[in-house]
């Protein structure tokens, strides 16, 4: 059953067409990887789903509700029940870990907010870092805080834009394991963008390979590995 649908989406940056009549369905409670090289349009897909970009053509549905259509945002980003982890993590550098996570919590009293933040952070083993600032944390810890912040609002969908690109293999593996466990715990649908096919093969339920704004292949890791598409073969060889 799909939770996100992109119908006939085309999108341009100035004269450069980044998505070309793209149709894509993301299954509920699965980890879907969007694989592609730089400039292939994968980040644009995430930004369109999040509502940070308006599609130049086509429609987007989340949980069967039309959220965007040609040149129009119908449901604003904050109402789409999703979390977004940016490539640069976008942690607010002047706020502590506690403030970063509690910033968006509304309609709660102080002790409820405190309980909520501590609960999320304990999941990631970051209980001792409440009062630290982002620059005082390691790269891996910053990733965890970014994920924790995205989960604070209990989203149904988690969009991740290559957030592990700068990490070493060991830290990356550790966080990928966390991602799998939080997906189960929070009943999440995860859409993960990367150019690293090994990462995708390791944990993805579904993989979508994209090139020059068009889907080249989609399916399970096994299907991608055995694809006859020239681009896919070339891409995963590297």
């Amino acid at each position: 059953m799909s939770i996100i649908k992109l119908k006939n989406i085309s999108h341009w940056y100035s004269d450069n067409r980044v998505l070309d009549n793209l149709n894509l369905e993301i299954e509920k409670n699965k980890i879907t990887y969007i694989l592609g090289s730089s400039g292939s349009g994968k980040t644009t897909i995430l930004r369109l789903i999040a509502g940070l970009e308006v599609p130049d053509k086509g429609e987007i549905y989340i949980q069967n509700i039309k959220v965007s259509e040609t040149n129009k945002i119908i449901v604003t980003p904050d109402k789409r029940q999703l979390g977004y982890i940016f490539q640069d993590l976008a942690l607010w550098p002047h706020l502590t870990v506690y403030e970063n996570i509690s910033f968006s919590l509304k309609n709660m009293n102080k002790s409820e907010i405190e309980g909520e933040v501590k609960g999320i952070l304990s999941l990631f083993g970051l209980d001792d870092y409440l009062q630290k600032f982002p620059h005082q944390l390691s790269g891996g810890q910053q990733q965890m805080v970014a994920i924790a912040r995205a989960l604070a609002l209990k989203p149904k969908i988690l969009l991740m834009d290559e957030p592990l690109a700068s990490l070493d293999v060991k830290s990356k593996r550790k966080i990928l394991d966390y991602i799998v466990s939080i997906k189960e715990k929070y009943d999440l649908t995860i859409v993960y963008v990367t150019h690293d096919h090994r990462e995708a093969f390791a944990i993805a339920d579904n993989i979508v390979v994209i090139n020059e704004g068009k889907i080249q292949e989609s399916g399970t890791a096994e299907k991608i590995k055995n694809s006859t598409n020239d681009f896919v073969k070339y891409f995963i060889e590297w």
Binding site: Y84, W92, S104, F133, L153
Partner: protein, 478 residues
């Protein structure tokens, strides 16, 4: 256009062009020495070298006139014929060189260390400097030249004090002395056209380059520690500080006290009543300018709506005296007279003229904030005003304070607008000094200039102290 007017325009452009050239050249040499050579006490040098920027132009004019009289015996020497011309170039270059050092130094600090090092591996220092470094900072060199040219051609107090007939003084004379409003307006339009043309073409050429960054963080700057460069830097920086700060200030102190303390006390009693009003007006003007500057910067850099920015740029390019005339023409009527006859007219003048400075400084900081920081808040349902208050403002706080201080300095020392529009019964410092010094003995003039300098430094130090505390509280120096 009459020949006389044309010659006057050429003369004004020539003087300002020379000032812009000298200041920008100094900006390149000292900017490199200050920002790229591995010298000790860099912050002390930086603070001292920037002092002329904190001083109202006419104060330095007073000091250099005193020096000319003492050293060159103006009344008898051949130097008399040209001292005003040279004096204006000297004073303007002294005042505007620190601005060039700031702009060019800021650009030099933004160059990646690797770029210079890879150039050094291929060619020598000379090749790296002329073929890599200078072309990379070319936008800042152009910005520095054009801005200083506009500042110099628009400046009123120095030529007025030195008695030089340039475009700004001529407009003032036609308007205030001969009541020839039509000619004054015509001359004003011509000068506005030149300034706007210069600034707009400069912006068009280098619209996206950072003109001044406050607090560039996390960048590795290549510092040159070769003995030759370091010694050269120490010599050139020390010489500049002695020449542009210590000599004029020493002369002011000497002239003020050479006959005892009576003249200084007299100057103090004359200026004391003006300090509170001048400070209050400058603070109010700066607060509103920073607010408007922030709004325009956000619209321009985040929402990509540049109209407000362009309007502020045009107002900024209009010389002060001309801006004053425009305010008189607009507000001097029965409906708006309540503004015209109050402090409000001065505030409007300051805000209109100087908000662009805030827009540029804050805009450059906003430009450096990753878009994702605000987008992350949007996705999390943080409202617009909370995003501005809790994310954008704290991140650009150093620029907000820097632009407040620069605006304060401009408002506090403004003579061009103030002299045109100050309401009757108002006593503000620059007007008081300017009107008294026309007929006052040198020692009284020097004492007043010295007091204005001391008050300015005191207020700036106070503002720095307060802002440092606030910045520490908001942990902006992450």
């Amino acid at each position: 256009m009459s020949t006389d007017l044309f010659m006057l325009l050429l003369k004004s452009l020539a003087i300002s062009g020379i000032v812009a050239f000298i200041s920008t050249f100094i900006g390149i040499v000292l900017g490199f020495s200050l920002y790229k050579s591995d010298i000790k006490y860099r912050n002390v040098f930086r603070l001292l070298i920037l002092i002329p920027l904190f001083i109202s132009p006419y104060i330095l004019a007073v000091a250099w006139k005193d020096i000319s009289v003492l050293i060159f015996d103006i009344d008898t020497s051949l130097f008399k014929k040209t001292y005003s011309f040279i004096g204006m170039i000297l004073v303007h270059s002294t005042i505007y060189s620190p601005l060039s050092i700031l702009i060019i130094g800021s650009a030099l600090s933004n160059i990646s260390k690797q770029m210079e090092e890879s150039a050094l591996l291929i060619g020598g220092f000379k090749d790296m400097f002329f073929k890599i470094l200078l072309p990379l900072i070319r936008p800042s060199i152009i910005t520095s030249f054009v801005l200083i040219l506009i500042f110099s051609i628009s400046e009123f107090s120095v030529p007025a004090f030195l008695g030089i007939r340039v475009f700004t003084t001529e407009i003032f004379t036609q308007f205030s002395a001969f009541y020839n409003h039509n000619l004054a307006m015509l001359q004003s339009l011509l000068l506005i056209f030149i300034c706007v043309f210069l600034l707009v073409s400069e912006r068009k050429r280098i619209s996206n380059s950072v003109f001044l960054s406050i607090g560039t963080r996390g960048k590795e700057v290549k510092l040159y520690s070769s003995r030759k460069i370091v010694i050269f830097s120490y010599i050139i920086l020390s010489f500049t500080i002695v020449f542009t700060v210590f000599v004029p200030l020493s002369i002011l102190v000497y002239q003020s006290f050479r006959t005892g303390t009576s003249k200084f006390m007299e100057a103090l009693s004359l200026l004391l009543p003006t300090i509170s009003d001048s400070t209050l007006l400058a603070i109010l003007g700066s607060i509103i300018s920073v607010f408007i500057g922030f709004v325009a910067a956000y619209y321009s850099e985040v929402l990509n709506k540049k109209l407000m920015n362009l309007m502020l740029l045009i107002l900024f390019a209009i010389p002060s005296t001309i801006f004053g005339i425009a305010l008189i023409k607009f507000y001097n009527n029965s409906i708006l007279n309540f503004i015209y006859s109050s402090f409000g007219i001065l505030i409007i003048g300051y805000v209109g003229k100087y908000s662009f400075i805030s827009t540029k400084l804050i805009g450059n900081s906003i430009k450096q904030i990753p878009k994702s920081l605000e987008e992350a808040a949007v996705i999390q349902g943080i409202g617009f005003f909370k995003r501005i208050r809790k994310i954008i403002v704290p991140l650009v706080l150093p620029s907000i304070f820097a632009s407040f201080i620069i605006n304060f300095l401009f408002c506090f020392g403004d003579l061009g607008i103030s002299i045109m529009v100050y309401p009757p019964g108002t006593e503000i410092m620059p007007i008081k000094v300017f009107t008294i010094m026309a007929n006052a003995p040198e020692s009284l003039t020097s004492s007043m200039a010295l007091i204005v300098f001391l008050v300015t430094i005191l207020l700036i130090s106070l503002l720095f102290f307060i802002f440092k505390k606030i910045i520490a509280k908001y942990n902006v120096n992450y």
